[in-house]
Amino acid sequence: MAEVSVAIVRLKISALSDKAIPSAQDFEICVKEEPSTAKNFGPVKHDYNIKKRVTVGGHTIGADVFKLPNFSFEPSKVSTLEDMIHDYFKRTGNIIRRSVRIPLHDDLHQPSSSTKPFVGHVPGLSLVCVPVFNKESVEVANSRYENLQKMVNLCHNQPEMFDIHTKNMILILERWLIDSQTFDSYFLSHFFMKESSRTRIKTCVHNPAFIDLQEQCIRHMSHSVRSNVSSASADLDDRVHVANIAKIAMLRYNKFTISVINPAFNPNFASEDSSCVYFYPGIKQCRAQRAASSTSQDMRSRLYPLHKAAEDGNAEEIRRFLKIGMDSNLRDDDSWTPLHYACFHGHLEVVHELLNSPQMTAINAQNKGGATALQYAVINGNEYLVEILTSHASIDVNIQNNEGYRPIDYCGNHPAIQKILELQIFKSKINVDTSIGSFSIKSRSPEEATVGEVLDRLAEETQLNREQMNCFALFVYSESMSLQLQPDSLIDGKLKVDKWNTTIRKLVGDIPFETPRLKLKRNAYATARMEIVTKVDNNSFAWSTILDEAIHSYLAGHLIANSKEEITKFAAIVCRTMHGRDFKPSSKNLSNLYPQYMLDNHDRGKLADRLKAQLRKNETQNDMQLEAEFISMARGLVTYGASFFDVDVFTKKSMGTEQGLVGVNDHGLHIIFKKTWTVKNFRFDEFTASNKESKTLEIDAQRVRDSYYILVSTQMKFLTGILRKFQKS
């Protein structure tokens, strides 16, 4: 059960004087006397020998205490206290203007003279104030009006005469009345003198879709003619039906109004015109958006005069603006430079003026879309503009726009422009030869490109990962010599023609003039195991390169077969790869099928016969199987992947010189004597190498095989480098 106390306050005529702030004497409060009940909290001390007597208003009060009129109610049955108060007074025949619920605070300071402990706010206890004007009469049974000031004084001096909660409420009420009038000079007028809300309501309009709320409205209901008929019939189903239909109609209207005016039909457009205000779903506020009109053109002329002049092709205006110091690289709202506009509209003189300006016009400037001025010149097919732009020293014809296209990609319909751009593109490419053709590696600055960068680009184009790419290396080569390049070497330095020919003459001898080129080959430090582990055979480009080099090694005689049958298999696979299935070997066309030393030392007729027999055996296998067999057999040989150099071989016994080849791979050192084409294989633990002179290498294998060789070559430093590399590993 909750309890509400009603403070019926009557305003006296003295409050209507000219005083600025009224005091408690200007109010009267309705109180009643009741015997003290068990609701009192706190100890009550009674002295039975002395009876307290207090005279208030001429009456003698004994053990009774003052209380405010109060009511008990169930909170769940009453929505607001104000409604309950109004209902109560209406039942008793009184008419009140309003009822205001006053908040009860816990910060009331207890007077120091009081001997009773302070009791704080009690849940469920409320205070409602009912104002009464001086001419009105609101009576409650068993109660009377007392001056508020007297009540406040008694609360301070004789608190035992009041119920503990009544005392707190009276003090709170007095303070609230005084403070409210202090803050608002019209408080008393609003609180006491204003008529009730019923008499002041003028009109009321209800939404017909909310039928449950219409029952609470008792006047000025809005209905159409049809609705009035339905309402008069008091048929609830019909009323619900009408409400639902109205709700559907209103839901259809629940959309936002959009008003857009075509600028062509509104020359007097003003930014403050609400007709052009947009409404967006979900946004309570809107924002105005201006449409383009002639005024924006004037503003653009003022903000970007160079752009305007470039667009119009006014070369004189451009010259004048540049002369007074305007920035020729200024960008407009779309990040276009004046050069963009000039090239887009094809104004040759304007482009000429901009490029010759002393302020260094940025010829490679890109707009928001990533396009350069050259791209627009190409799109419009202006050949003269393309020539002017490409003749600039700083032009970069390979800049891509945001869609990934270069200016040359728009040359489909302009062959002349394509030719001009191709000449420019050629300068910025690095050509690398491979087994399947030539690759053109793009580079913005070829002078600063390194071998590692080129290998990375090749890896991207050939879809090789890093481990697989380690099996390959970049070589600089010509007809006489081939050298592997270090990854950190500058390519431009290695391709110097004079330097390359000097190196060749130093290492090989006097030869005709040769042009150095780049080629991707198998790495000299790669091993068969490395190729297998990285699964390099799965890449078609890598497979082609490895197969091509293996075939060349076989034909050069570097792959020494272990038996005649094995070498015949090699020849048969090479025959299929080079000449196809229909080739008929004979003693006259074996030059590209067998190594030269085989042709020199053996009967060609017998070689041809063995080859025919092997070809018949291979007829049931396809080319891929044969190629795989070739590589598998090649990797099984100890000389696979070895880098061979021409050397002069000296032996200790004969004291003579023999021409030979020396190769090094992961298996060891291999010496091939060209006269008999026999090979001597040494593992790294079977010999010791010493390099007394720069061109001499001594191979001492006497401890194991009683062999001792002295190798002499002008390329000994390369051979020694590879040898030490493998010895360390």
């Binding site: 209902d87 809300s197 003028k202 017909p208 709320l213």
Partner: protein
Amino acid sequence: MTDPKISALYVAVQEINSLIQNGTSCSRSLEEKIVEHLENSQLLGKLPKNNGDSHEEVYMEVTKHGLRISSRRTRLVKLRIPLIELILLTTYADGFGRTNIVFVEKSTTTRYQLHLLQATDDASSNILCNLVKNAFIEAEEASALIEVIEPPSPSIA
């Protein structure tokens, strides 16, 4: 032709959740409860007073789509209430010669917003009430077109 604009001062807005839903008491109408609730809030200091000088001047426009309130100074729309969410609009005198306008907006299923405005004169408040009333009547008459297409049925919702 554009709809007429009604000038007013936007005083305050307050959110409630139980006042309108009360259906047990018959002594006071819904309008009386709303007006007294707003005035009590002003007396207790929860809402600004009507005579304040800091209130913003606004224009109110009524269309068949709803009520639109825009600022007089900046011409930006401050508030837009669809017709389906405009539950109640009432005008009353504040006791000192001015006319106040209160309209109830449905925020969510159980909560409502009370918007309190002060009209510049009595004529403008009457015009506003007539416009809103005509909008409601127009919606009811438009619903008759739906009945022509679909037969009447209590299940339509």
